[in-house]
């Protein structure tokens, strides 16, 4: 039987240091693992309301992001949508039009993807710099492992491939060129 269509979306703004952790993890997984059956992996950036289309088009959405939980930087959380949606009812702490609000808006639909978030507590999201703090960089493989474990529990088997190191991934985000894209 075919598994539910699944997308992994890395979210965050790479301009603000650790805020980009989700984007890097998604890329790291894409570059270093193959999945069977195949899944889609997206660099979502700060998608905002454009997230809606993914909630509507896929049966499962796994979001990789930062979470602002008061805990040691580098700590990793795996949160089901149900928990996130509960936050929306608590008006003053609801996040803006993003992961949570899009869940709310789509909650009117009969059918939306099963959404979950794997997030890391960041250390530095204030510095304007395309890089990661050492703490987050060190913890990043564990976040990737958690995402792979989560996908594995849903039936997607990962195999390691000859890929790209985290440092070289960060470097290419730091210096994107038209030449690399278009030759």
């Amino acid at each position: 039987m075919a598994l539910p269509s699944t997308v992994v979306i890395g979210i965050g703004n790479i301009l603000f240091k650790d805020e980009g952790v989700g984007v890097y993890v998604a890329k790291y997984i894409e570059e270093n693992f193959d999945f069977y059956p195949a899944i889609d992996i997206v660099d979502g950036g700060t998608l905002g309301f454009r997230l809606m289309s993914y909630y509507q088009s896929y049966e499962r959405v796994l979001i990789l992001d930062t979470v602002s939980i008061k805990d040691t930087p580098g700590s990793i959380y795996n949160l089901p949508a149900k928990e996130l949606l509960g936050l929306g009812a608590y008006r003053n702490t609801a996040h803006e039009v993003e992961v949570v609000e899009m869940l709310e808006i789509c909650s009117m639909l009969e059918k939306i993807a099963e959404v979950s978030v794997i997030g890391m507590v960041p250390e530095d999201i204030d510095t304007v710099e395309i890089s990661l703090s050492d703490t987050v960089k060190t913890a990043l493989p564990a976040m990737a492992a958690e995402a792979i474990r989560e996908l594995g529990s849903k039936g997607f088997e990962a195999s390691v491939k000859k890929g790209k190191s985290l440092d070289s991934i960060i470097r290419s985000y730091n210096a994107p060129t038209m030449e690399a894209l278009h030759g």
Binding site: N13, R50, M52, S53, S75, Y77, L87, M108, M178
Partner: protein, 576 residues
């Protein structure tokens, strides 16, 4: 006794915004402050880079408007190098931006703004048969058929809402100010609005597809380069152009049969507050001008949206825009600086001074001093509003034929006087009018592109000698983005970026006071608004949402404040 209302964060917007309003004994807002409490600063990251690559990072400023920042950055370079792009490239760029307008405006109206006007719970009391009559009535105003007038469909939606409410499903139901007396639609009108809300969720997916046809990879487009576009294969493929047109025609139908009728409905039911000017604000409107209609080059071409400045709502006078007169002031923003600077010389040096007094555990903005991360842009020493309404008003004042025709038709069909435009309702109507203009003109553009390609013009890129033109140059990409005037300014020395500044539309609108203590557009728009229930800042949200705020150029994090989430922590000790 005056009382403070603090709304932080404003939800259903892109990004993080805080509003502090002061109300008097009659619950009327007498003072207001707008603050983005998050820092942004793309500028420092772009210095020293190859100007041709800046677009790839500039698009990271905001995830919703990736394409529009990308294109502005590329066009700043083209302007600096004096490059005129080929006709196909101009049309493709117009179509990508136009698709963004339609998608943005429809999602804004239905999913980010409608619930400020539509009371979902009231829809439960509606009679589906009468709802069908309402649907025919409001679409009929402009001679259209309704998007749907099926009684059974309305009944189904009603059932679905009833089921969700009964289940206690969380989400939007928990978040509204349902039952607030400033909701003015009838149960049937509310049911019609909710039905369109759901249908718009499906429509927006197709509108997003439209953007990707020529834009390439979503959500980070990459088909635009300095000199033109790279999607040569897509424009040479008649089935790609045909797909674009099919999606466009279906979007246009929705705009005419659902969006416009709903705005007629809201405009009529909320006419009293449009007539008394609630939410009008500054009444100074500015448009940089946008969407080139011919190939005479930047800032020379005929434009879909004319450039101009209209002061004090005076539709008889329009002042042309001169980019030299733009400056950014930081008197009340958390940056270093002592006088307004033009963006070519702009600086972004943070100077955070924190919040002011703290009372009952609430820290208030230090409004006498610095209180926002947004700078205050000024045009020729005027505070101005930008956005769809500004484009419509500048278009009418400039006697633009197309814009005047659509605006006049809207007011005539709705039986509304011109002055309703200067209000929150007017701002929302202006966006709808503009969406119809865009949907119609895009049909012309897509046909023009198809026939130009069919006639044998396959050119998509203008060649230039980078080393020769990039020694010492400066340029700007100024356009009308969905939310208003957007500009990127760039100075280039020896082939590298020497200075970069971007002023985004929400900077113009959401800015704090300036060096003369004059209010920004959001702030001014709240003054005089009557609040029905200070515990439910519905009217504040309605007016702020009418600007379609986008402050997303800041940090973005899943916020779990106040929730105990320990059980979901991943034990990484045993992780690979």
């Amino acid at each position: 006794m005056s009382k403070h209302i603090v709304v932080d964060p404003i939800t259903r917007i892109e990004g993080h915004l805080r509003i502090e309003a002061v109300i008097d004994d009659n619950n009327t807002i007498v003072d207001a402050y707008s603050s983005s409490t998050m820092f942004r600063g793309i500028e420092t990251i772009l210095k020293g880079r190859d100007p041709r690559d800046c677009g790839l990072l500039a698009m990271r400023i905001c995830g919703v408007c990736t394409g529009t920042h990308y294109q502005r950055s590329i066009e700043a370079v083209e302007n600096a190098f004096d490059i005129t792009i080929p006709k196909n490239a101009r049309l493709v760029r117009n179509l990508i931006q136009g698709a963004l307008y339609i998608h943005d405006h429809v999602v804004h109206f239905y999913h980010l703004h409608a619930l400020d006007w539509v009371d979902i719970t009231s829809a439960l009391k509606a009679d589906p048969k009468k709802t069908a009559e309402e649907a025919r009535k409001w679409a009929g105003i402009s001679g259209e058929k309704p998007w749907t007038d099926s009684e059974s469909e309305f009944a189904q939606v009603q059932e679905r809402v009833a089921k969700f409410v009964k289940q206690g499903r969380l989400g939007i139901f928990g978040n509204g100010y349902w039952g607030n007396k400033h909701y003015k639609l009838t149960p049937e009108q509310n049911l019609l609005g909710v039905t369109h809300y759901l249908q718009a969720l499906d429509m927006q997916r197709d509108m997003a597809k439209m953007m990707a046809i020529f834009g390439g990879k979503n959500p980070h487009p990459q088909s635009i380069v300095v000199g033109g576009v790279t999607c040569v294969q897509d424009i040479q493929n008649p089935s790609r152009i045909a797909l674009f047109k099919t999606l466009l025609l279906s979007a246009r139908k929705f705009v005419k049969q659902a969006y416009l009728p709903d705005v007629y409905m809201a405009g009529t039911m909320y006419a009293d507050e449009a007539l008394d000017g609630t939410g009008g604000g500054l009444k100074n409107y500015m448009s940089y001008g946008g969407f080139r209609l011919d190939d005479t080059g930047f800032y020379k071409s005929a434009l879909l949206f004319p450039d101009g400045l209209v002061l004090n709502g005076d539709l008889d006078r329009v002042i042309p825009i001169d980019q030299n007169k733009i400056a950014e002031d930081v008197a009340h923003a958390w940056y270093e600086g002592d006088k307004p600077l033009h963006p070519f010389d702009g600086r972004t040096d943070p100077k955070y001074t924190g919040f002011g007094k703290k009372e009952d555990g609430v820290a208030y903005l230090d409004t006498k001093n610095k209180y926002s991360w947004i700078k205050s842009p000024i045009y020729d020493d005027n505070r101005v509003e930008v956005g769809p309404l500004a484009r419509m008003i500048v278009g009418v004042a400039a006697k633009d034929k197309r814009i005047t025709e659509y605006v006049t038709k809207f007011l005539k069909n709705g039986n509304l006087p011109t002055k309703v435009l200067f209000s929150t309702v007017g701002r929302t109507a202006g966006r709808a009018i503009e969406t119809e203009i865009m949907a119609d003109v895009m049909v012309e553009w897509v046909d023009e592109l198809a026939s130009n390609v069919a006639a044998g013009d396959l050119s998509t890129w203008t060649e230039f000698d980078f080393d020769a033109v990039s020694k010492n140059a400066k340029g700007y990409g100024m356009e009308e983005a969905p939310r208003g005037a957007l500009g990127h300014w760039m100075r280039i020395e020896d082939g590298k970026v020497a200075n970069y500044q971007a002023i985004v539309p929400s900077t113009w609108n959401a800015a704090p006071r300036d060096y003369k203590d004059r209010m920004g557009a959001y702030e001014a728009s709240l003054i005089g608004t009557k609040v029905a229930d200070p515990e439910q800042p519905l009217e504040i949200l309605r007016t702020i949402h009418s600007f379609d705020p986008c402050i997303a150029c800041a940090v973005h994090i899943v916020d779990t404040k106040g929730k105990e989430l320990g059980v979901y922590k991943v034990d990484t000790a045993c992780a690979v």
